[in-house]
């Protein structure tokens, strides 16, 4: 089975994630889509790691997860605080600043 397929899959996931960021309104969901993109990257890393037969890619995948976790912490903190002050998590409601 051709490893290229895994790459296609990761690309697909990445695209889905990106599309999600563009179309979903709820900040949490948007953020989840970003996470999805990160994981797509992980898949690519692992595949390539396998392909090249070295471990770098897999190590990077771990790093990515940690970073993602950190992002979750910060992101959720921000989103929650804005939700509490606005009683809405829709990213479209947050446009005081424009032009």
């Amino acid at each position: 089975m051709n490893p290229a397929n895994y790459l296609y899959l990761s690309a697909l996931l990445f695209t889905i994630g990106a599309a999600g960021v563009l179309i979903r309104r709820n900040a949490i969901v948007v953020f989840m889509c970003v996470e999805l993109m990160l994981n797509a990257c992980n898949l690519a890393f692992v595949t390539f790691s396998r392909l090249h037969g070295n471990l770098d890619g897999q190590v990077i995948a771990f790093f990515t997860m940690v970073v993602a976790a950190a992002e979750v912490v910060v992101g959720l903190a921000i989103i929650v605080s804005i939700f509490r002050s606005r009683h809405s998590a829709s990213v479209d409601d947050a446009n005081l600043m424009k032009l």
């Binding site: 900040a27 993109m37 390539f48 392909l51 090249h52 804005i82 002050s85 947050a94 005081l96 600043m97």
Partner: protein
């Protein structure tokens, strides 16, 4: 592993190295970073264990000392010649210790040091229940306008967490331009971005806007880093390594071939797409068009001291990283990325200048001007000559202090609702308080690149480099957009000096020694780099060589 085995990956697992090599770290050469992170950690402990009243002093002290020490370390390293002769790759190829790295780290540290003063300023806002307060929320978690917040304000809480956050951000920024493999690049990026996201959310006034800024910055930042990461993945896939030197070797075809490599390197798409995506991640941070849209909103919403810090330090770090990527990893691909960069630079310069013309808010105005400046710096980056590197280094140093100073001045002009950032409120400022207006005018003229200011020296340097690198058209465009940009800087000056002050105009708060120092430093650097830049140009020249 054998050529045949590549096609049956699942049958033969990749040989696993029996044990990881024990990493050996050159602590001395990484000392600046380590010091900063240590100070940051210490700040966290202070936050955890010290009683509230003594935290402020302690935090400021820790941060200031930490940065100063780190800067001293940088100087020491440079003095030892790590910037020039002894430049090399440290920490198992993760971090480069060379001229550009040290120069930029030094700049970032100084900027951070000055930023601390603006962070620590406690005289501008009127006292809340007898407590002096800074420009940060009493309690970030409290809902704006809620009883909880009122209580916090009454109790005189202040979020001293900002200092450790600042320190972490600085730490990340120190690593960013020095990162010598893509992984380190990515991690450093996140390390300085996450604290900034939080800092953005912590404004004491206009908290809704502040939070909105944070959320926008965060989502878009995450989005862009995802792209960056995918780009990294592709590059890794292409070269089978994430170390800069390794990748460039593969690109140049000097790397030892193996079948796997042969199969991936056969596919340029990996390389090119990866390159494009990584570049995009960095361009997002420097705020180049079309990845600039977060800039105005975030700059406007974030607490002004944070904006000042972001606007200057982030740019320095990001451009550092971009330079290293383009000059160390991709010199072999100059002919692929240069034309693209041309396009980006041109639209960045023009769009930044043009859109700024109709801005009505000082902070947004400065945001757009920073975009235009990003364009100018890109022109220098494109030169791909040693001259290009040094000119960019110089420009960054000059620009960051002007920006810091300008935003510091913005914090002074206040009315009942906090800072009065709408331009119409600035009318006649020159009559009310000539000194502040004059200082701000100096910064504006520096932005506009009027001779005898650092802005002119920097602009001349990058344009000279660009022209030397055969990018005369870029220079022409740059010149034209400078002319457009001049218009809105001048507009502000007109407003301040030539229009009658409004009766209910904003007052100019008398700052403590903190902000005064920050502004003074800004002015001093602006004039010194404008009148006698030779020493710093030499420095930049000496520093202008990347280690591979």
């Amino acid at each position: 592993m054998s050529a045949s085995s590549v096609h049956s990956l699942w049958t033969t697992a990749a040989p696993v190295a029996d044990k990881f090599p024990t990493p050996h770290i050159e602590y001395a050469q990484l000392s600046p970073v380590l010091i900063v992170f240590a100070a940051a950690a210490l700040g966290v402990l202070v936050e955890a264990f010290l009683p509230r009243r003594s935290r402020y002093t302690a935090q400021v002290g820790v941060a200031a000392v930490g940065l100063a020490a780190a800067f001293a370390a940088i100087v020491a390293l440079a003095d030892k010649g790590y910037g020039t002769t002894k430049a090399h790759i440290a920490a198992m190829g993760a971090v480069a210790v060379d001229g550009p790295a040290l120069f930029l780290q030094g700049t970032i540290l100084l900027v951070g040091f000055v930023a601390i003063f603006t962070f620590a300023e406690r005289r501008l806002d009127q006292r809340a229940h007898g407590n002096r307060v800074d420009s940060f929320a009493a309690q970030g978690s409290a809902v704006p306008g809620s009883d909880q917040e009122k209580a916090a304000v009454r109790a005189g809480f202040t979020s001293t967490e900002v200092f450790p956050l600042l320190m972490f951000a600085v730490g990340g920024m120190l690593v960013f331009p020095a990162a010598n493999d893509l992984l380190t690049l990515f991690v450093a990026l996140e390390v300085f971005s996450l604290p900034l996201y939080i800092l953005c959310a912590l404004a004491r006034r206009n908290r809704l806007m502040s939070q909105e800024a944070a959320v926008k910055y965060f989502l878009l930042g995450a989005f862009s880093s995802a792209f960056l990461l995918f780009g990294i993945a592709l590059l890794y896939g292409y070269a089978g390594t994430v170390s800069y030197s390794g990748i460039s070797a593969v690109i140049d075809g000097t790397a030892p071939m193996n079948p796997a490599l042969a199969s991936t390197t056969g596919n340029d798409a990996l390389l090119l797409i990866g390159l494009a995506m990584v570049t995009m991640g960095l361009l997002f941070k420097v705020g180049a068009v079309p990845f600039h849209m977060w800039t105005p909103d975030v700059y406007q919403g974030a607490p002004t001291p944070v904006t000042g810090f972001m606007a200057s330090a982030t740019k320095v770090a990001a451009f550092g990283a971009l330079l290293r990527l383009l000059y160390v990893v991709l010199p072999g691909m100059r002919w692929d990325w240069r034309p693209v960069m041309w396009g980006v630079a041109i639209i960045t310069m023009l769009a930044g200048a043009v859109i700024a013309v109709t801005q009505t808010d000082v902070k947004r105005l400065l945001a757009y001007s920073s975009i235009a400046h990003a364009g100018f710096i890109l022109a220098g980056v494109i030169a791909t000559t040693p001259d290009g590197i040094s000119s960019v280094l110089f420009y960054l140093a000059a620009y960051s202090f002007v920006t810091l100073g300008a935003f510091a001045v913005v914090t002074l002009v206040r009315d009942a609702g906090g800072e009065a950032t709408h331009l119409s409120r600035w009318a006649g400022l020159g009559r009310r308080s000539p000194l502040v207006a004059a200082v701000f005018a100096v910064f504006l003229l520096a932005f506009a690149g009027i001779p005898l200011t650092s802005g002119f020296a920097g602009k001349f340097a990058v344009f000279k480099a660009a022209a030397g690198g055969g990018a005369m058209p870029l220079v022409i465009v740059g010149v034209i957009s400078s002319a457009i940009a001049a218009f809105f800087y001048i507009r502000v000056i007109v407003l301040m000096f030539f229009s009658e002050p409004k009766a209910d105009g904003p007052t100019v708060a008398v700052p403590s020694v903190m902000t005064s120092t920050a502004i003074a430093v800004g002015v001093a650097v602006t004039l010194v780099l404008g009148l006698a830049p030779q020493y710093f140009l030499d420095l930049a020249d000496k520093a202008g060589v990347f280690v591979r």
